[in-house]
């Protein structure tokens, strides 16, 4: 018998183009929710994003789409058409959660504000996940991931002081929105258990990042007016807090208590410089002359490989790690042994390896991801079942380009 799934019986309607809402719904699907992804007739834009095998575009083989939508059902529906909009209500009636990433003005135009959906289904948890949230002066601002990381003060801190700031990699700002929307949705499902009533969950990626990433720096700013700025490969902190090159790549010397640093100095053979008074105060070393200390450390690092450094540090309880390349992470025996990776097949049946669920649970493990759906693969099943449309009606709606 397969293990029980926590969200078995929870039906999620996803109206989420690209990353943020789709990632939230995938996280819910991982633990057993039935996710119905509503795509426009042209398909989710992630289908056109790639990466594609051999760089040949194919809407059924886009890597980003596969990763975000594994295990979901895909239906096509034009909700801008009145008939389509009515059919959406028929699905809303049968769902527990709706997750979307529309702006307030778009919801208004679609008659899909929370109040509209609630009138159809009072028990619905209606989760909005956008860059700026549903309320406030920028609520109707468009935003992609790069705008989210910019507005949440992370971009300004990454890169060289004399060069342009760097955004966090890939669609990180959008993942932030989706990741936060998942626990927020769970809280609304927990609250619903008491009285059967749903509610509106309004999630802003910028607000989540500001709150969770900047708490300490914001208080510092209020007290002193100082803001953290770009420091290149390091962060201004007690020495060391940096990524430095070694023999075959980079090594991250990040966070050290005094005993970690002492052990590292010992590991380097307690060189003469390390005994000078100038190199005892790690506050000064980090804030006033970190380059000078780097110049001593780098030649020693250059003599060792990432693997050697990792072993030497870890065996001494020094919490430092190599900056692995993604291929090294994919091959790493530890994650394999944990059963972390999942296999997802693309539209041609070829399987690809993708990162697994966020939590390993002893009694109710995440379900295998399953495959990403072909565009509209479940249209007949979902509308025939939940909206009770006959075959003839389905065919007519397809001819009218509603489905």
């Amino acid at each position: 018998m397969p293990p029980p799934q926590i969200l078995h019986g929870i039906r999620v309607l996803e109206l989420g183009d690209y990353v943020s809402a789709a990632y939230c719904a995938r996280l819910l699907a991982d633990y057993g929710a039935e996710v119905i992804k509503i795509e426009p007739l042209a398909g989710d834009s992630a289908r056109r994003h790639g990466p594609f095998p051999g760089k040949r575009p194919d809407p059924e083989r886009s890597g980003l789409f596969l990763y975000l939508n594994a295990g979901k059902k895909s239906v096509t529906l034009d909700i801008a058409k009145p008939r389509g909009r009515d059919l959406l209500d028929a699905l809303i009636r049968k769902c527990d959660v709706l997750v979307h990433n529309y702006l307030p003005r778009e919801l208004e135009a679609l008659r899909l504000r929370y109040e509209d959906a609630q009138a159809v289904n009072p028990g619905l948890v209606f989760t909005s996940v956008t860059v700026f949230g549903q309320e406030g002066p920028y609520a109707d601002y468009k935003g992609y991931a790069i705008n989210a990381t910019a507005a949440s003060a992370t971009t300004h801190r990454i890169g060289l002081p004399e060069s342009y700031p760097l955004a966090m990699p890939y669609e990180r700002g959008d993942y932030w929105g989706g990741l936060n929307a998942a626990p927020a949705t769970m809280l609304a499902l927990i609250a619903r258990r008491r009285d059967g009533k749903g509610q509106h969950v309004d999630l802003s990626a910028v607000e989540a990042m500001n709150t969770f990433c900047n708490g300490m720096e914001t208080i510092l700013y209020m007290e002193s007016g100082a803001v953290p700025s770009r420091r290149g490969h390091r962060v201004q902190n007690l020495y060391p807090y940096t990524i430095l090159p070694c023999k075959d790549g980079y090594f991250a010397l990040i966070i050290a208590n005094q005993h970690h640093w002492d052990r590292f100095v010992e590991l380097m053979g307690s060189p003469a410089w390390s005994k000078e008074p100038r190199y005892q105060d790690r506050y000064k070393m980090g804030y006033e002359y970190p380059d000078e200390v780097d110049a001593f450390v780098k030649p020693w690092l250059a003599k060792h490989t990432k693997a050697e450094l990792w072993e030497m540090c870890q065996s001494r309880g020094i919490p430092w790690h190599p900056a692995q390349r993604v291929d090294e992470t994919l091959r790493w025996d530890h994650l394999k042994a944990r059963g972390y990776w999942q296999q997802v097949r693309d539209g041609s049946g070829k399987a690809w390896t993708v990162p697994g669920p966020v939590a390993q649970m002893s009694r109710t493990p995440a379900r295998p991801f399953g495959d990403a759906p072909r565009l509209g693969r479940h249209t007949d099943e979902v509308f025939g079942g939940l909206a009770k449309l006959s075959k003839a009606k389905l065919a007519a709606l397809k001819r009218a380009k509603v489905l």
Partner: protein, 403 residues
């Protein structure tokens, strides 16, 4: 209706630094009764970093992530008497969050095997670098350095030079959010079935989940993804552009033709919309260098807020690259932020702080108390919650059992 979806839930917490404390704040803000247990053995090194404190460290410790707890108590887990007390508390708890290294868990007899017999239906969540199983489960590390091993750090840098930049800002908060999702799933399951379980959270697994696309690029292209700065594999323009002002920058991303035409209008260059270099999605991507120069030329003459406002008025996704201070002073941010009165002994003024970014409109929760000094609730907790006579509590304090 109660504002607090987690009212009635009792959580015991042993956690340190950031990820675990943040997770428990999320539960506490939402109404769980959280008992924060600290120990002089060093269950939170942040509390004991006397030598290594930056000037405002003591102040910040009180405000950052350990907020909203109902009780801040201290127990010396190295003593038999202290351990017995802790076990008494666990017997009354629904959830136990343990955010210390797996080896320390063993040493302090805090593993699931130790805890479960005391309360068979407990939800126990552990947060560690590598998880509780697998060949490298004993790796020591903190969020930012784990980001390096996961592969994320190999993706942030300047393509012009190939240098990697430190981008450490979000690993701990990402873990805190993902961990909360895992815990809430387990709570949801327990409410339905009465069953507890172990939620094994690994920094590696959560962080790797945010770079699935890079893992697929490697597999699908047969080569490692190159550093791309702020460029996007699909969107162009997509980047950070200099604005008028000291270290002032804005982020802009364009995906659709409609957005592109909006940008041309905002620039008052309608002829660009049909420029043969930029007319379509594919052409813009091919000619992204020319596009970048053109945008840079426009943006550098304009103050960032003005440029963003103008672009957004034309439907273009843009945001200022904010410092922590900019973000805090921003009107949108201020609109969504919480102002609270601090209820503690150390700070007597109103404190403006980031509130709860998971906006549940019907059951919003509340920030109930700011962080408190170590062990401040010992007497109240042990007399009223465990029913011990005050004289015994004083005596235990004298004998360093409550340390």
């Amino acid at each position: 209706m109660n504002d607090f979806p987690l009212a009635g839930l009792r959580v015991v917490e042993i956690s340190q630094v950031w990820a675990g404390p943040q997770l428990c704040s999320c539960l506490a803000d939402m109404g769980a009764e959280v008992i924060r247990v600290e120990s002089a053995l060093g269950t939170d090194f942040g509390r004991f970093s006397k030598v290594e404190r930056s000037p405002l460290r003591a102040f910040l410790e009180l405000h950052r992530h350990p907020r909203s707890r109902d009780s801040y108590i201290s127990i010396n887990l190295g003593t038999a008497e202290g351990h017995d007390l802790f076990r008494e508390i666990v017997r009354t708890a629904d959830v136990f969050i343990c955010n210390i290294a797996p080896r320390a868990m063993e040493k302090l007899k805090l593993t699931y095997e130790h805890i479960r017999p005391l309360r068979p239906d407990i939800v126990m969540a552990t947060i560690s670098a590598a998880g509780l199983t697998g060949p490298r489960k004993d790796l020591v590390g903190f969020g930012p350095s784990v980001n390096a091993v996961a592969g994320s750090d190999s993706l942030v840098g300047y393509p012009e030079t190939g240098d990697l930049m430190s981008s450490y800002w979000d690993p701990d908060p990402v873990m805190g959010v993902a961990g909360a999702y895992g815990v809430l799933l387990a709570i949801y399951h327990r409410q339905a079935t009465g069953e507890g379980q172990l939620v094994d959270l690994s920094f590696f697994e959560v962080l790797t989940g945010l770079i699935g696309e890079a893992m697929l690029e490697y597999q699908m292209w047969g080569r490692l993804p190159a550093l791309r700065g702020n460029a996007h594999p699909v969107m162009a323009p997509h980047g950070v552009y200099r604005a008028d002002g000291d270290d002032a920058w804005i982020s802009i991303a364009v995906k659709t033709d409609q957005e592109w035409r909006g940008l041309c209008k905002a620039f008052q260059r309608p002829e660009l919309a049909d420029d043969p270099r930029f007319r379509t999605f594919d052409l813009r991507r091919k000619n992204r260098a020319a596009l970048h120069a053109l945008i840079q030329e426009w943006s550098r003459q304009r103050p960032p807020d003005e440029a963003v406002k103008l672009l957004q008025a034309h439907g273009v996704a843009a945001a200022r690259v904010m410092t922590v201070g900019d973000a805090f002073l921003d009107p949108h941010d201020a609109y969504r932020r919480t102002n609270i009165t601090v209820l503690d002994n150390t700070i007597t003024k109103d404190q403006i702080t980031y509130g709860i970014p998971w906006r549940l409109t019907r059951t919003p929760g509340a920030l109930r108390r700011m962080g408190q000094p170590y062990g401040i609730d010992n007497v109240r907790f042990f007399t009223s919650m465990l029913g011990l006579p005050e004289s015994r509590v004083q005596d235990m304090a004298k004998r360093d059992v409550l340390k």
